[in-house]
């Protein structure tokens, strides 16, 4: 079995698909350059990025798939999981090799994997839309730092741009070290140099605007008074708000 080594980008992944149809090497293993460990017994093939080839594959996919499936594939890629890369690759090969609309064949493991992975990514995206808590800084900026399981910033951009059209905001992915900055007109990608050891998901207390602590307090109060103690159900609570998200939530700051 031959190993296809690509650079981990979407373009590289699409080129790998192109190369497979160019060469037809049969079954292949797909690895990113970072994860690839050469061994003596199997051959490997370096996939070179080529925008034209990638475009052709993407257009080919668009011809065969509707919008929702294109989005699923994109989500699957954004999950950054090695298995997801493989599933993406196998799914595309399966699709191009058959004349039917095989994306509906949920009995196929790769089709099912892409659909399920896309759902996980969409869930994470939705959670970010729900759990992001902006803090208002003294210079008028709304800031929030996050470290999502998957690379969902490209997916949540539109939601926040449409919603907060009249305020400047920054959403920063601490894990992947890049963020989005909205300047009242367009969203830009930024990267920052943090030189402190402090928590980067929250702003320091002195940097908040005059009313920031008041509204944080009011929100905590509201969270407390809207709870009905007689119905306490911790299991359900945790199911909806898993502990790993508590660090984002203003209303949970006293508990952490």
């Amino acid at each position: 079995m031959i190993t296809y080594v690509f650079d981990g980008s979407l373009e590289g992944l699409l080129c790998a698909i192109f190369e497979w149809f160019e060469r037809r090497p049969g079954e292949v293993r797909l690895k990113t350059r970072q994860r690839h460990q050469p061994d003596a017994f199997s051959a490997s093939f370096e996939v070179q990025n080529d925008t034209k080839k990638a475009d052709r594959v993407w257009k080919g996919l668009q011809k065969k798939l509707d919008k929702s499936w294109m989005r699923r594939l994109y989500c699957c890629y954004l999950s950054e999981q090695p298995e997801a890369h493989t599933a993406f690759f196998e799914f595309a090969c399966y699709l191009f090799s058959s004349s039917e609309a095989v994306e509906k064949n949920y009995g196929n493991e790769h089709v099912l994997f892409v659909a399920q992975m896309a759902r996980k990514v969409e869930r994470e995206k939705h959670r970010m839309e729900a759990f992001i808590r902006f803090q208002h800084t003294s210079d008028g900026m709304y800031y929030c730092g996050i470290d999502p399981d998957f690379n969902v910033l490209p997916l949540i951009m539109k939601h926040f741009k449409d919603r907060y059209a009249d305020q400047q905001w920054i959403i920063y992915d601490i894990k992947r070290n890049y963020g989005l900055f909205y300047d009242l007109d367009k969203v830009e990608e930024i990267s920052m140099d943090f030189n402190t050891q402090a928590r980067q998901d929250k702003i320091p207390a002195h940097a908040g605007s005059e009313k920031e602590s008041l509204y944080a307090q009011l929100w905590k109060d509201y969270f407390k008074s809207t709870n009905i103690p007689a119905r306490k159900n911790t299991k359900l609570h945790i199911q909806h708000v898993p502990r790993r998200y508590w660090k984002y939530l203003t209303e949970k700051q006293d508990i952490l």
Partner: protein, 418 residues
């Protein structure tokens, strides 16, 4: 200043929490005026309280002063509690500041009745108008329709709100008369019907003239209190069904009664709220709305109450074993949807996937079917041939044996005497 607003928020959020409606879905408002807010079609739950209910809207009363004395309500006139009232500006600034920090999807505004219905409705209207017109707020607004308010006020409010609701409070007229002699279901039906007519009318006009504004785009909902009066599940669900049919409601909410007073007509203080029952009612509601069940199939004179130990879908299947086992490779989508352990998503995937070849057990499991439950009711391509036919009681005990109800705290099997 900040201390007083904290106090008010605590009182008025606490008084509003018994209204369980939480949804922020169905809003279609787009941020096209460079303002703030953009409705998310499916709604977003921004957090969950420790009782597991979602928080998507800032749910508050404008005031908890009330001229009515309904036995089931904390804000009733005769109850000795702290009273407070927000000013219009306070509600607006709270909503905007919470929304800008991504705490909430919008506002749920209700109110106790002070002076009279029109006076109260007029205040509510002022809040939503200020939000929409001055603050250019495009988030979600759920507004209570005050029964008895004039048509003009309700109509104007409908132009700014996304959803409006009026609570039925008790599932039957007699139950309501017992606890709230001043109220009646007729009073609720009139404004529900009025808003419903307006929705239809505005929709028709919009088809012809694009610039006609939207009227209550997310529809209407209502709520019933469960367990305060002795209605059967059949009464409750038949009422719900009637309101779904007659008023095209988007949702009916069921709220398990939490004892708040020593009134002899109702469960005593300290009684556990009927959480399982509430859950079963919601399951029935879902079966009616998304699974193609008719209310009579689930609840009728022979079965006036839902089983507590098993869900209504399983209980229907056990009563109707003549339809099973179902061959999932040929059965219709409608029937597959009725199999316990198969949901809407799985049913759709099964129907799509079986065109590419007969489905086997391992594929069915991966697709997302709860196989241990469904296996008693389906046949796949490689299901072993089964000679023996089980009785419904046997199937029930198989399923009960391998699944632990989330409501059972510890094993509570009765011990044998000998």
């Amino acid at each position: 200043m900040s201390e007083r607003i904290r106090e008010k928020l605590n009182i008025l959020a606490d008084a509003a929490k018994y209204d369980v409606s939480c949804s922020s879905s169905g809003g279609t408002r787009k941020n096209d005026n460079k303002g703030v807010g953009n409705s998310h079609a499916s709604g977003i739950c921004h957090t969950y309280t420790e009782d597991g209910r979602c928080v998507s809207l800032l749910k508050i009363l404008l005031t908890n002063h009330c001229i009515f004395d309904c036995a089931y309500c904390v804000s009733r006139k005769s109850n000795d509690i702290e009273r407070a009232a927000f000013t219009v500006e306070e509600v607006v600034s709270l909503t905007m500041n919470f929304y800008r920090r991504n705490f909430i999807e919008g506002l749920f505004l209700s109110s106790g009745i002070f002076k009279n219905a029109d006076f109260t409705m007029e205040r509510l209207l002022r809040v939503v108008k200020k939000l929409r017109l001055e603050e250019r707020f495009n988030g979600y607004i759920h507004l209570k329709t005050i029964p008895g308010a004039s048509d003009e006020l309700i109509k104007e409010a409908g132009l700014y709100a996304d959803r409006m609701s009026i609570n039925l409070e008790m599932p039957t007229e007699s139950g309501l008369k017992l606890l709230a002699p001043d109220k009646s279901h007729e009073e609720v039906k009139r404004p529900l019907g009025f808003v419903q007519n307006q929705i239809v009318q505005f929709k028709e006009e919009r088809k012809l003239i694009r610039s006609v504004p939207k009227f209550v785009p997310a529809g209407q909902s209502t709520q019933m209190v469960i367990g305060a009066t002795p209605e059967s599940d059949k009464d409750i669900m038949h009422t719900a069904n009637e309101y779904y049919q007659n008023f095209s409601l988007k949702r009916v909410y069921y709220s398990g009664y939490i004892p708040i007073s020593n009134d002899s007509r109702m469960p005593v203080l300290g009684t556990q709220p009927p959480l399982i029952r509430e859950n079963r009612l919601y399951q029935t509601d879902w079966l009616m709305r998304f699974y193609g069940f008719h209310v009579n199939e689930l609840l009728n004179d022979l079965n006036p109450n839902l089983d507590i130990d098993i869900d209504p879908k399983l209980s229907w299947a056990l009563r109707n074993l003549q339809y099973f086992p179902l061959d999932i490779n040929v059965a219709s989508y409608r029937m597959i949807l009725r199999v316990p352990g198969i949901g809407v998503g799985s049913a759709q995937r099964i129907v799509a996937a079986r065109k590419f070849g007969k489905l086997r057990i391992d594929q069915i499991k991966k697709i997302g079917v709860a196989y241990n439950r469904a296996k008693h009711f389906i046949k796949c391509a490689d299901s072993p041939y089964q000679l023996k036919e089980y009785q419904s009681t046997q199937i029930k005990s198989f399923i009960m044996a391998e699944s632990q109800s989330k409501y059972v705290q510890a094993a509570n099997q009765q011990m044998l005497l000998f």
